[in-house]
């Protein structure tokens, strides 16, 4: 069930000058609604005159023991910059949980690969954590421009093997995620990915060629986030459908991406 909730900022961790990690909890100790990997929230940025609509942000992680929702945020424009200024104790209004979620593979011995690019790594953390909890052994392949954009590596390491690529070679292998050697070394049955569209398209093509089951999480311009404005469409094989309700997670078989 979707809710509109006022949550309280428990922590704002300035990861570096471009990224922050917000930790939120309920104001009265009630348990956060169930949220699944791949889902997102819509943040109301109340005090930014230039931010009229809510901002969609993925669930980065749910710390069940602490009753915390984590949001990993890249400073892009006024809305995200304002969020980056939130202080412990501030109240933020959210719609949540929104969207569908990644599909858990049937067999826990499936070799699963979670590919994140840039801030698109955000949903991969929670997905990895949940997969591990269910008995999978997730592999993470994280790509970024340079090491400064590789975030939460320690967190990822808690849930599986972490591979990285950077465009400038400052961390892990140099190049794009689709060139990483682990793709040759291991035999993946499932790929989950989120990141810049060109990266996801490359991943999708790779997965298609190798006949690997592949789900991608799309970003899109959203006005509502819960299926009423019809602004966030992806032109899929089933026609124009809403990313915010029928996605953000899509199996590549549904998309018109493969060439």
């Amino acid at each position: 069930m979707k809710k509109m909730l006022d949550l309280i900022i428990v922590d704002n961790d300035q990861l570096n000058q471009n990224y922050i990690l917000l930790k939120l909890s309920t104001t009265d100790g009630t348990i956060l609604p169930d949220m699944y990997p791949g889902q997102f929230v819509e943040v109301h940025v109340a005090d930014s005159p230039t931010t009229f609509l809510r901002r969609p942000i993925s669930v980065n992680y749910i710390d069940k023991s602490k009753n915390e929702l984590w949001l990993l945020i890249q400073k892009i424009g006024d809305g995200t910059r304002r969020m980056a200024e939130y202080k412990k104790g501030d109240i933020v209004n959210l719609l949540l949980p929104l969207g569908n979620s990644f599909t858990t593979p049937e067999h826990t011995d499936s070799e699963v690969l979670l590919i994140g690019g840039g801030v698109g790594t955000a949903p991969m953390l929670y997905l990895g954590a949940e997969l591990k909890e269910k008995g999978f052994k997730p592999n993470f392949l994280l790509g970024a421009r340079s090491s400064a954009d590789l975030l939460q590596l320690d967190e990822f390491a808690k849930y599986g093997e972490v591979y990285t690529t950077t465009e400038d070679g400052s961390h892990g292998e140099q190049g794009y995620v689709t060139n990483h050697s682990v793709l040759e070394e291991k035999n993946f049955s499932h790929i989950f990915t989120c990141g810049p569209k060109p990266m996801m398209m490359a991943v999708a093509n790779y997965a298609h060629k190798k006949q690997i089951n592949c789900e991608v999480s799309l970003e899109n311009t959203m006005a509502c986030g819960f299926g009423v404005c019809l602004c966030c469409i992806e032109n899929t094989k089933r026609g124009n459908i809403c990313v915010c309700t029928e996605g953000p997670v899509f199996n590549i078989k549904e998309l018109k991406w493969i060439n």
């Binding site: 609509l53 311009t221 006005a223 009423v228 404005c229 602004c231 469409i233 124009n240």
Partner: protein, 303 residues
């Protein structure tokens, strides 16, 4: 609660708070957030005779205190509505108004006639003002003559409450309102979106796939309010006011300017519970000023 009751044609609304077409889906998307039975009515998504895929992506641009949309009436057509959606929503304890659009007069009339028999749809809202479709749409709403033609055709085949939704992209909205009235419309609703545009200066391209789109949200409120006031003074049928309502104070402004009922559009995206808050606010205002009947507020602006 009777003090909030209001009539639009034969249609009796339990209160003047409605939600605007294209911003409220089919109502069911909001059941997690609010109790729909509290609403005066719901205008569901624009419906056309045939299935429409709508416009290409991108369809949205944020603007100062508002947004542009270029959805382009994406919907599965009236028959799908009747067979698949109607059964799911017909038992909501509120009035469901179907917003009807078309590219030709015949389309409008045919679409309307297929809704005529639906027990739980007591009225339709004729959208002669959608700026986001190539043919028809707004064109009908920008001339009194073609507006009259559409309304006349639909009136012939549609027996229940007929609301005509007006375009603000005109020199004189009262002309169009009078044309609708004279052809038998039971009410007019206004405003639809204003035609606007936004540009991505890095790509040097329009943000919307359609170049221009429809502007809505608080930014349009002063214009909408003025048009409601002008129209209220020009026609005898009820006026349903909308455009930028984001608080109960805004709703009171529209009622004072002459709105028998109001619709909330874009702000549902920002606060999906806004309609209920607006309703509460109207009630409190009436208590504060000792207003026994909402009808005593409609158009009571002192000028």
């Amino acid at each position: 609660m009777d003090k909030l009751k209001i009539n639009i044609g034969n249609l009796s609304l339990k209160n003047p708070v409605m939600t605007a077409s294209g911003t409220f889906g089919y109502g069911k998307e909001y059941v997690d957030f609010i109790d729909l039975s509290q609403l005066g009515g719901i205008c569901v998504k624009g419906t056309t005779l045939h299935d429409r895929q709508g416009n290409d992506y991108p369809r949205m641009a944020e603007t100062p205190a508002g947004m542009l949309n270029a959805v382009g009436l994406q919907n599965k057509g009236v028959d799908y509505f009747v067979s698949d959606i109607y059964p799911e929503i017909k038992d909501f304890d509120t009035h469901i108004i179907v917003n009807v659009s078309g590219s030709t007069i015949e389309d409008y009339a045919e679409c309307a006639s297929r809704l005529n028999h639906l027990d739980k749809v007591p009225g339709i809202e004729l959208n002669i003002s959608c700026p986001n479709v190539k043919e028809g749409g707004m064109a009908f709403g920008t001339s009194a003559c073609s507006a009259a033609d559409v309304v006349r055709a639909v009136r012939k085949v549609y027996d229940k409450t007929l609301i005509v939704k007006l375009s603000p992209n005109v020199t004189d909205i009262t002309e169009i309102a009078r044309a609708a009235e004279s052809e038998g419309a039971d009410a007019v609703s206004l405003i639809n979106t204003l035609l606007g545009m936004a540009i991505d200066i890095n790509k040097q391209k329009p943000i919307l796939s359609t170049v221009t789109g429809g502007l809505s949200g608080p930014c349009v409120k002063p214009i909408a309010l003025r048009m409601v006031w002008q129209t209220y003074n020009a026609v005898k049928i009820p006026v349903i006011g909308m455009g930028g309502i984001s608080s109960w104070q805004d709703a009171i402004e529209f009622i004072l300017a002459g709105s028998s009922a109001i619709q909330i559009g874009t702000y549902n995206f920002i606060d999906p519970t806004i309609s209920i808050k607006v309703l509460e606010g109207i009630k409190n205002y009436m208590d504060q000023y000792n207003i026994a009947d909402i009808k005593d507020l409609v158009g009571q602006l002192k000028v």
